[in-house]
Amino acid sequence: MRHIIAVLLENEAGALSRVAGLFSARGYNIESLTVAPTDDPTLSRMTLVTNGNEEIVEQIKKQLNKLIDTVKVFDLTEGPHIEREMMMIKVRAAGENREELKRLTDIFRAKIIDVTDTSYVVELTGASKKLDAFIDAVPAGLIVEVVRSGPTGIARGDKGLTL
């Protein structure tokens, strides 16, 4: 199953490489990983997406916890949560495709954030599946470039993943 795991880490040099090293050394699958400092500049928050059976995911969480720099580990997938990923996609938008792509952007509630005579850059935020759907919907051959941030997430409700 796909799991979205949030990790609060000491914002130390090398903390990221400890996590990346852990996944490669132990052969865990890692789909995406995003990291940035939080409102507390001494802490970074990482979101990683991984795939594996329950036993493997359990081990992943234990191993993450074992890292000395790890303050907290939280598996968002265990409860109701919101997942968001941001994508910028550059598409060929000339002639009749221009209208078609504009329509598609509206349907997906995406935004066109850059325009030339022959191209658009479309920005879209949502769950990863929605981003996949947009890519699938773009007519064949029109995609120039895709940039995705990798998912981040937050639990629903009033409780926060803090210290």
Binding site: G14, S17, Q59, K62, T70, V71, L163
Partner: protein
């Protein structure tokens, strides 16, 4: 003297921190990046520096010291090759959870990343084989970082910590007020002490109902100083007890309740008991593949209790029914309390039928060997060593058949007496580890059992032993082969002995003598005891005992990799007998 508030340079801070940590010995080797620290060491006499002859040995010696004493080992190496040489020793300590602080020099901060002379990314290279590591870029962080390093190394599941210190951070001309924190609080690291009482209760309930219980204990009992609690638990419950290679001595091996080591070269009775047990109580053991054999065949009938300080050890290889995370000593104390409440009258061997079965397996005599051979059998050599030293010995080991024979034939009755590289299996560990042990206990008998291949991996340390007059006894079981490799080739490669013959061996007697030591060679069984007695009588000399043993002997029992626990090869001398 309290140095708090005194202005010190980075180099002086390092040395003062070691003094404040109560460090007796630093095992090290100098070089450019650590010269300021060496100068600071020179100017004091509280911390003694032991000059090894290779940085791998610095780490192994610190490791041996830590294993024998339970205190933190410390080593000091220079940047680049100094650090890379130490990596094998650090990884060895990591695999066996040994507390160690390794201080490495680094090129000055302004040139880090420029491929400077003797620059290597020490923090990067060591990351996967340390509990934690630090690069200290500011002298103001030095004292706190060192305190953290010792704290992390010694608490929770212990392990090595590397502190990488660029040369400019130790600059003798930049002085700051010294403050060494007594207590350290880390929001990201809070080791667990006590186990969950509800879980311990569940464990005791299972144990009370057990018909075929086994206590399976490991290195965690030694590391967690829980030998006394374990012994009491075994006595109270009357349960049979088996141990991993790393746990030997935590429970007296001469006691009848001890059914031998388990695993690949474990006893028939221990492995059969594991196969048949209905309640397995794993204590400070980590279900290593050398113990479990093929996981699908592991303890097929058992409910499993697992006590471990490291949550990630639990259900890593084998799913367990009652996990208990906590310090072994604390958990066992709670367990004993609950057991006494529930079963106040239990004494002796309550599970009589089970013991009858185990005694039957015992009668197979799985460690049988030919005692009438005209060659020295390695097993006989270890038994003789036991008799000559009367069981009162710190024995370090290298890796191979000799290691397994020692584990099988030298019954240790106390923890911290059997010192070997179990997890990483590092040839070359034995001699430098013995140096650490001998320095920790100058009056004790310390021996290193080795093979002619292993000993050559750190042979240069005979010079260190000479310099510090360490009266270690090397007992070399010289079979002229990388015996353990040869054994696998005999069993699994139709005796194609590819590169396992150690050709062109030195004359070990002359070699020892050239380092200023005593060398002795023994070839006949009849001469062995006298030679060992003579060697151990030389209380102030390092003696190298070259024992020529039967080159064809194999280690039995043996579970081939990928086989189940109950599928053991027994000694061929037994094959004509009916097995239970």
């Amino acid at each position: 003297m309290d140095m708090n508030g005194v202005d010190l340079s980075g180099a002086e801070i390092v040395v003062q921190a070691l003094i404040d940590e109560g460090v007796e010995y630093v095992f090290g080797y100098p070089g450019g990046a650590v010269l300021h620290m060496y100068d600071a060491l020179f100017k004091q006499d509280q911390v003694k520096h032991i000059l090894v002859r290779h940085e791998q040995a610095a780490a192994h010696a610190a490791d041996g010291y830590a294993r024998a004493t339970g205190r933190c080992g410390v080593c000091l190496v220079t940047s680049g090759p100094g650090a890379t040489n130490a990596v094998t020793g650090i990884a060895t300590a990591y695999m066996d959870s040994i507390p160690m602080v390794c201080i490495s020099g680094q090129v000055p901060t302004p040139v880090i990343g420029s491929d400077a002379f003797q620059e290597v990314d020490t923090v990067g290279i060591t990351r996967p084989c340390v509990k934690h590591n630090f690069l200290v870029k500011d002298v103001r962080d030095l004292a706190t970082t060192l305190r953290k390093a010792f704290y992390i190394a010694m608490t929770g599941r212990p392990g090595p910590v590397v502190v990488d210190i660029p040369k400019d951070v130790t600059d003798p001309n930049i002085k700051i007020p010294y403050h060494y924190p007594r207590e350290i609080q880390m929001r990201s690291y809070q080791p667990i002490e006590r186990g969950h009482l509800g879980q311990i209760k569940r464990a005791v309930e299972l144990m009370l109902q057990a018909k075929r219980p086994v206590l399976y204990t490991g290195g965690g009992v030694v590391l967690g100083e829980a030998a006394a609690q374990l012994t009491e638990l075994a006595r109270l419950t009357g349960f049979p007890l088996t141990s991993t290679l790393m746990g030997l001595g935590a429970y007296p091996m001469t006691d009848p309740q001890f059914i031998g080591m388990l695993g690949m070269h474990g006893t028939y009775e221990a492995n059969m008991a594991m196969h048949e047990t209905d309640v397995l109580i794993a204590i400070g053991a980590r279900f290593d593949d050398r113990v479990t054999g093929k996981i699908e065949h592991f303890c097929p009938h058992a409910k499993i209790v697992h006590v471990d300080v490291d949550p990630s050890s639990i259900s890593k290889n084998v799913r367990v029914d009652v996990p208990i995370v906590g310090q072994v000593a604390s958990v066992l104390t709670d367990m004993l309390g609950l057991w006494k409440e529930q079963a106040p009258t239990t004494t002796g061997r309550p599970v009589a039928d089970w013991w009858a079965k185990i005694e039957e397996w015992r009668r197979v005599d799985c460690l049988h060997y030919d005692r009438h051979s005209d060659k020295i059998k390695p097993q006989f050599a270890v038994e003789t060593l036991y008799q000559v030293t009367k069981g009162d010995l710190y024995l370090t080991s290298d890796v191979g058949q000799h290691q397994m024979f020692a584990a099988q034939f030298y019954p240790f009755d106390k923890p911290r007496r059997w010192i070997n590289s179990g997890g990483l299996g590092t040839m070359g560990f034995g001699l430098p580890a013995a140096m650490g042990v001998q320095l920790a206990f100058p009056q004790a008998q310390v021996a290193c059992i080795s093979g002619e291949a292993s000993i050559l991996m750190c042979i240069q340390e005979m010079a260190t032993c000479q310099q510090y007059k360490l009266p270690i006894k090397v007992v070399l079981l010289n079979n002229g082969y990388m015996g353990m490799v040869r054994q696998w080739q005999e069993f699994f490669y139709e005796s194609r002995y590819s590169n396992s013959y150690v050709d062109a061996l030195p004359d070990f007697v002359k070699l020892a003598e050239s380092f200023g030591h005593v060398g002795m060679r023994v070839e006949r069984p009849a001469d062995l005891a006298a030679a060992m007695q003579e060697a151990f009588a030389m209380k102030d000399r390092f003696v190298f005992l070259d024992v020529v043993v039967d080159p064809t002997e194999n280690v039995y029992p043996m579970i081939a990799a990928g086989k189940g626990q109950h599928e053991m090869h027994l000694p061929p001398s037994l094959s004509d007998r009916e097995l239970a």
